[in-house]
Subunit: 304 residues, 2 copies
């Protein structure tokens, strides 16, 4: 059984100012709130609009986060870019800053690429970073990246870089695939995270590590509690309650919906901003979502 | 009828050194050869492995190209990135350098995004670049980017930024779609380019501008001749000859195949290198391709 069992991470949503520049102080403050709620900080994920930011913007945010006193052992930045040089630069910062690891997308522009090409990409990053402290969590998200990571590729990477290839986030949305990853690779030396808390209980029961999930941005306390108490009575009811909240968010585009709800509960209207090509939730949608959440008893306790 | 009729551009393949860094002098020299063959330089396209390069690497290559004395009026760099800041930086360089225009991908990480979001992306770039000399050629390549540009979006962009939205490259591979673009928007103020010389004659006859095509890297003279003489006798035979050569290349992954053939005919083995996630052509494939081309009478005259 993995020591990581019950581990919950959030791809932290990124606040933008009026000029769409990252709002660094609000970002650090939101990370502190998530951290106090027991959630690890998978900053620069899909739900962070990470690919809508330049490498320079991400380096500045990561630097501010670590300087801001957040425990780097609970930070796992997304560092995978289409260009190897970009991936290497941000990964080096993460390693130098003492981060727990990095969550690494494959290069996602070219489609239908071979396992050999993807192996070379990850190998090049590992070799250029050249640091024993590096821990890579692979990021499998075919619905968005459209570049899947095969079991054969994972096996080859683990064999070539033992101790470095430390786990995977499976955002494919297919429980059978997550199950296959856990039964083939899961254990103390390879953490399998579900990409949504919908699969949290199944993942933990099967021996996976936990979840790295968008809605951990807005519902962190309940997800963390469900993870930590998954062996106790009421686990299925707690999972069901998570699914209900998740379902309310999923009725809308997820990133704008989470930002609108964060704006509403924090009283900070700037949270509503997204970068193009995303579009913020309209006020009718926000009103409906907030009322359905409120009827459900949803709150974001301690949100600043 | 457009003044641009018969216009042929190549998404210039990018040479890499042993450390996979761009080989700047070989790049400039290859651009000169293409330019002397009558082909415009659509550097940093899909076939240039542009998204496998950092913005800094592309800025250095563009600077060297313009300093190297190539006519910037025949240079149209690809400048579309997922992050607006990256697109703005490279576009500003292109405008400042006097380039003919820029070929701009939509942000390609998020899928299923709205026209409103894509409009805001392009609008933000236009406004931040803030230069009347800016000419944007939209880049529609759904098979790779997986983010199509709708006719309604193009219409809205043209209306909002007349004189700036100057044309489109259609790499969808569907002649009906290219035809629809030409009949709705084509003319002196909007150049429609086919994404392959397979559609060159059809495009020119319908009133489109020409093509921006990968294989113009390796077969420039014949494509340019077919374009310039498209109204003359023998046009269909010339088109048929282009298709034959294109077909030989298309039997292999296109970028590695073009690089292998360039290596063979130039005697410069370094041309074979591609950046991950691409993989170079194996020597058996290269031998087969080169013999089939040679049997066809193919040559790369004047290649250095």
């Amino acid at each position: 059984m993995s020591q990581l069992l019950g581990d919950v991470w959030s791809p932290v949503i990124t606040p933008f100012g009026q000029d769409l520049a990252p709002d660094i102080s609000r970002f650090v403050s939101h990370c502190r709130w998530l951290s106090e709620s027991g959630v690890g900080l998978a900053v620069f994920g899909t739900n962070s609009e990470a690919n809508s930011m330049t490498v320079g913007e991400k380096r500045a945010l990561l630097g501010a986060l670590i300087e801001g006193g957040v425990d780097p052992a609970r930070v796992m930045p997304g560092t995978g870019h289409c260009a190897i040089g970009d991936s290497v630069d941000l990964t080096r910062d993460a390693v130098a800053g003492g981060c727990a690891g990095v969550l690494m997308l494959p290069p996602f522009y070219y489609k239908g690429v071979s396992d050999e090409g993807l192996f070379r990409y990850y190998a090049e990053v590992v070799e250029r970073v050249g640091d024993d402290r590096l821990k890579i969590y692979l990021y499998h998200i075919p619905p968005v990246a459209q570049v899947p990571l095969s079991l054969a590729l994972i096996e080859r990477l683990r064999a070539a870089f033992p101790g470095v290839i430390a786990g995977i986030k499976d955002s494919g949305g297919d429980w059978g695939h997550t199950q296959a990853l856990i039964s083939r690779f899961g254990g103390d030396d390879f953490a399998v995270y579900a990409g949504s808390e919908r699969f949290l209980l199944d993942t933990l029961r099967a021996g996976g590590a936990g979840c790295i999930s968008a809605t951990a941005n807005v519902n962190p306390v309940a997800i963390v509690e469900a993870a930590r108490r998954y062996r106790e009575e009421g686990a299925d009811d707690r999972q069901e309650a998570l699914n209900e909240v998740r379902g309310l968010f999923e009725a809308y585009p997820l990133i704008p919906a989470m930002k609108a709800v964060t704006a509403h509960f924090s009283g900070e209207p700037g949270w509503r901003r997204v970068r193009p090509p995303l579009v913020e939730l309209d006020s009718a949608g926000e009103d409906l979502l907030v009322s359905s959440l409120t009827r459900n008893g949803f709150r974001m306790a301690g949100l600043r």
